[in-house]
Every structure is written in C-alpha cells, then in structure tokens.
Symmetry: C2
Subunit: 363 residues, 2 copies
C-alpha cells in the first residue's frame, strides 16, 4: 500500500463547515491528528507549529500517529475532506540542480556556447521565487499574460517537475545550518509552472520573475524524512570536488522516481537519483552567507531531468521542435484545459502525494 | 520640523519590558497609538493589521493621529523606546529602475556591449529577494562569506540606496492591481546590501542570490503616501512609450533627495526624481501576470542613482578604480566597522526615517 504505516505524510484538511487542522494520510483516509493526539499544534491551520518543534518532536508525533492509525479510529475518508496548502510558506527558493536539465537548457538557448555556465559545477545555482503564489495541488492555474515581448497570454506555458524540501527548524542571522535532518522536516512534490516566452524576454540580467511568479504548485502531503530513510542514496559524484562547506556529511540523494502525466498520459519518468547537487548541499549553500532560515521555508530542487526523461516540456519537445504525441493529438507547450499531474515513489514502496493542476484560459 | 504634523510616519516600538505596538513619529517622540486611539490594530506587533484595512481607514487613522499628536498626550521620547521591524514582510521584490544605475553597471561589467539589455526600456526589470532577512535600521550587518569564487569573506561589500514601497491591500490570484494608492500604504528607505564578488560569480543565469540574501535593511518608519502628496511629480519621459498596462495613470514620481553618509561623511545625494520607472509602473508590472499581492509585500526601486550622484559604491568608485576620499582615509568597498546611513527628504520639508547599519566582521 502506497500510503501505509511506513509512509504517513502530513497535510492540512477540513471537513465542510469546520476549521482547518493537521492530518496524516493513511491509505485513502486522513487521520485527524487533533482528535487522535490532542494538542493545539495539530489544531492549527498549517503544519508550521509542528514544523517549529524540531526533530525529536517530529519523531514522537510520527510514532504516536502510527499507533493511532493502527487503531482505525479518527480516520476520515479523503473523499469527505478538502486539502489545503500544508505550509505557510516563508521564503521560497528554487535551485537548478539537475545536470541534464541545466545542460539541455544551455544547449537550447545558447547553442554556440558551453551548455553550462562556469559557476554551475561549483555551487548549486538558485534564486528566490514568490512565496505568496505557492498553491496546493488541485488549484487551477490561470495562463499568465505578459511581455513575450509583444503583450498577450503566454504561448509557451511549461511545467517543471521538482522535489521540494520544507524547513522546520530556523537558524539565527549569521548562523550556518547544521545537519540537514535537524532543519528539514520533509519532502513535497512541486510543479514550478513556467511561461517560457515571458521568462526568455525578462530574465537578463536579474533572473526569472513574472515567467514564474504567477503560480507554483506543491503537493498537499509532506512526506517526513523518516519515511524516506530506506530511499537515501549516495549523491552522484562531483567533479571538481565541491568546497568544504558543500561536502556531503551523509547520503541525502533520494532513490525517487517521478512520473509526469499530461492529460493522463505519462510523458516522462525522471529520477531524483540523477540530480547533481543533493538537498543537503542546497541547504548548506543557502545559509553559508549567514542568511537565516525560517520555519516554513520551502526550497525546491529545480527541474528533475534524467537522460531521455526530462522534467519539462521545453526539454521533452526540444523547444517545441519535436512535439509530444498524445492520443489523437500532440503538444509542444500546454494548452488551456490541459491537466498535469506529477507523482513519485521510492523503490521501497513509499509514494509522495501528487501535485496536479489544470490550465485555465487567460483572462 | 522634519517630523512635524504633516509627516507622521508609522513604526513599531516597545518600551523596556513591554510588548511591541504601533506608534507614529512626532518630532523626537513616538505617539503611542494604542494608548491614544485604542483598538487592537494599534496594539499589534507589526503594521500589518493596519495595512490590511485599506485607504479609507489609513486616512481616518492619520487624521485621528494628527489630532492626538496635537494634544501632546501619549508621547514617548524616542530615547526611551526600541524601534522594531515595522512590517511583517510577505514577499520582497527588488527592481532595477534607475537608468543611470543600470547603465553604469552595464558599462562596468560589460564594457564592450550596449550598457542596457534589450528588455530594459520595455519593462521594469525586477527579481525576488529574501523576505526573511529584511531587518530594521540599526541592525548590525555581518559581512557574508561565500564563493568569490575562492571561498572567504566578501571583499567587495557594497550598499544600494533604494526607496521601498509597502503594500497594504492585497489582490486575488489572477487579478491585476488597481490604482497605486489603493494598494500601497507608504514608503520606506531601503539599503540592499550587496556582496559584489559573490554576486558576480553566482548570478548567471538565474540572478542574484547569496550576494544579496544575507541582509536588507529598511527604515523603522513608513511614511504614508498622504504625507508625500506635495512631493508627487510626473515621471521621467520614456522612450519607447511603454505598453498600455504600464501607462501612468497619475504622477507617482517623487521629488525626493536621498543622502548617503559613510562614517558620517556625505558621499552621494541621488534624486528619486531621476528614476526611469515609477513605482506605479512597478506595481502594474508585478501583477500583470496574475501574481497576487499580500499585505506586507515590500517592493523596492533598486539603486537610486543620478548623474554624478550614484547610490552604490561600485558606481561611486567605478568598480574600485577611483576610491572615495574620507577624512584621513579612502574607501573602495565597505570595511568592517563602517557605518552607512541613508536619509531622504522632499523639497516640502518631509523627511523619511533613516536606514542605517554598521558592518561587523565575518565570523
């Protein structure tokens, strides 16, 4: 069972007319944690109070939730609840950590240059995104308008299949993050919707802005790190060797296969194993300058692409030159009404909650 | 008087052992709004509840605060209070709206190219910064470490003198912002500290990240738009004419002179009048793709530079080639122990609250 007692991801749900509260997914049900365990932390409208408690409390909650789930009490069918954005997102950072993705985009956009910029193998390149437009899986995505450079609805609306990491324990200003597992609570699936035409025109020299800021979707379920213990793998080898502050202290690669479905057809199955930079390195980099972390910070990996299995349409269709075949039709970029669903699982049978969204026409 | 009854900026203060609350600056005193007017909105630890109320309530509060200030009651000497970050910052966006600044940086970094990128005159270039490291004026600034590309403390630590705009009234996802004054509550001074060596190495292709994210300082006082009514001026002429969504509906240029003091010596006095893009255009651009605004969003203008009066040291010293003379010493970039204070005033005698910070050595 994908969402069995070894998984137990956390989310925020409500029943009609009732306030939001914290739950744990058990199969096709939600365990009502506030009812099962008691306590204000679980009656909160986001996971943030739980996130702030730290690793010992997370492990204790997980053990108690497993016991409670086994009793069969306080389980509400998923069909009877609404799922909400699980985290009050503080800062949102997006990395660019896949060698295949960065190389593909370099080849597409700068065919006469080296695909990778000189910094790429020395640090996990990243930037800040818009925290206020992170939405929960299932939220419809309105096609954005903007300068492409003529003004109008984006004609090159794309996806980016990513894995996101939710920070629980903050740092003080000037302090570097400690061990990955002491700060990071768990893992989400993320779709960083991207308007490639808007992005291509605006992004020099300060990076992506409106091409990304209209919406970023995240899964309703946050899988705690402890559920992924068996999926941990050594990160991919790195050349040149990273600076000491980026040295891996423990294996935080993840044996996680993603699946990208477009209108129900699987179009790609990239693996997170293939990421060049691992999430512990992203965390170390993000705080090496003394920037503080807050409870609720979300950082995402950037598009997860494997050889022949990319996590974006711009790669899959080679900038539109080679359309994807769907039953009776083709796609270069997304059309109105299209639904994209990203799922993921480990080889040990742990599934991540899906992130899904349907495109609404521009207004 | 700089902070007379025509000014009345808002901030958050506390007295020893007491909780934070909202105040209004009156000369060298703080008017305790919670005591003077009553109400939970003013007993809050940030301006956000007041910001959320909207323009009619802002104007009513301002009128009542002016009456209360005139009575002389509930005034606390500034020397007896601690000033705090006035706004719980939601998203922080930084623009790049000065023609002189963008041209200078283009000339310094890309001497063989056109100084401005092709998009620059078509849209206000901007990017998201780190909201969690926005700090109040007076907070010491720790010199960041990072890849320059060798690892170590930044050797090119710089300032950016900017004007920031605080959003009160949010928008819904998919909705464009309406009139500037219906969303924006007021104005702050901002110093966007920048580690030029870290930034230069990391910023391709996704923009500034650790070179900026360690700290951004804002003034403790937010000057409401109504205090700047007489300072409003037509924006600078623009060629080519911007797209209709960027058309100016009303004059939101500001006749505002900034002064940058380094260890007490004035090194530059740029004018906000010289900005190419006006803040109403920044707001229109930021939301044209349907990205929603939240109460507490902060967007800053980017470095304010005038001809011969730039708002950053990299421009003032032409990338270190022409050091600034101070009494008995010179500066290219900031040294440990340096204090930078940015002030600003209109020609009608309205002062903005200063933004100041002192550099601590790297750890």
């Amino acid at each position: 069972m994908s969402f069995g007692l070894g998984n137990l991801p956390y989310g925020v749900f409500s029943r009609p007319g009732e306030p939001r509260r914290v739950g744990v997914r058990v199969g096709d049900h939600v365990l009502d944690l506030a009812a099962a365990l008691g306590g204000d932390v679980y009656a909160a409208p986001s996971l943030n109070p739980l996130l702030a408690l730290g690793r010992t409390a997370w492990q204790e909650t997980r053990a108690r939730a497993r016991e409670a789930a086994a009793t069969g009490d306080h389980l509400v069918p998923l069909t009877e609840v609404t799922l909400h954005l699980p985290v009050e997102v503080a800062d949102y950072v997006d990395f660019y950590a896949s060698l295949e993705h960065a190389s593909n985009l370099g080849r597409i956009f700068r065919p006469d240059d080296e695909p990778l910029k000189p910094n790429w193998r020395h640090l996990p390149v990243g930037y800040h995104g818009r925290a206020g437009t992170v939405v929960v899986s299932g939220t419809p995505i309105r096609r954005p308008c903007g300068q492409r450079p003529s003004f109008g609805p984006s004609q090159r609306l794309d996806i980016e299949a990513e894995v996101g990491f939710v920070v629980g324990v903050p740092t003080r200003p000037g302090e570097r993050a400690g061990a990955f597992e002491d700060h990071v609570f768990g893992v989400a699936l993320v779709n960083d919707w991207s308007a490639r035409d808007i992005q291509a025109w605006e992004y020099v020299p300060l990076g992506p802005f409106l091409g990304k800021s209209f919406a970023t979707s995240m899964s309703a379920w946050i899988t705690p790190l402890d559920a992924l213990e068996e999926a941990r793998v050594e990160g991919r080898s790195q050349e040149p060797e990273p600076l000491p502050y980026l040295a891996r202290q423990a294996p935080w690669g993840l044996d996680l296969t993603l699946r990208v479905d477009l209108n129900g057809e699987t179009v790609s199955t990239p693996s997170f194993r293939d990421m060049y930079w691992t999430p512990d390195q992203m965390l170390a980099h993000m705080t090496v300058n003394g920037a503080s972390l807050r409870t609720g910070d979300l950082f995402a990996s950037g598009t997860v692409s494997s050889v022949g299995q990319p996590g974006s349409l711009i790669e899959l269709t080679w900038n539109g030159a080679d359309p994807v075949k769907l039953p009776g039709e083709t796609r270069t970029f997304l059309e109105d009404g299209d639904t994209v669903t990203i799922t993921a699982w480990t080889s040990h049978g742990i599934s991540l909650g899906e992130v899904s969204g349907r495109i609404l026409p521009a207004t």
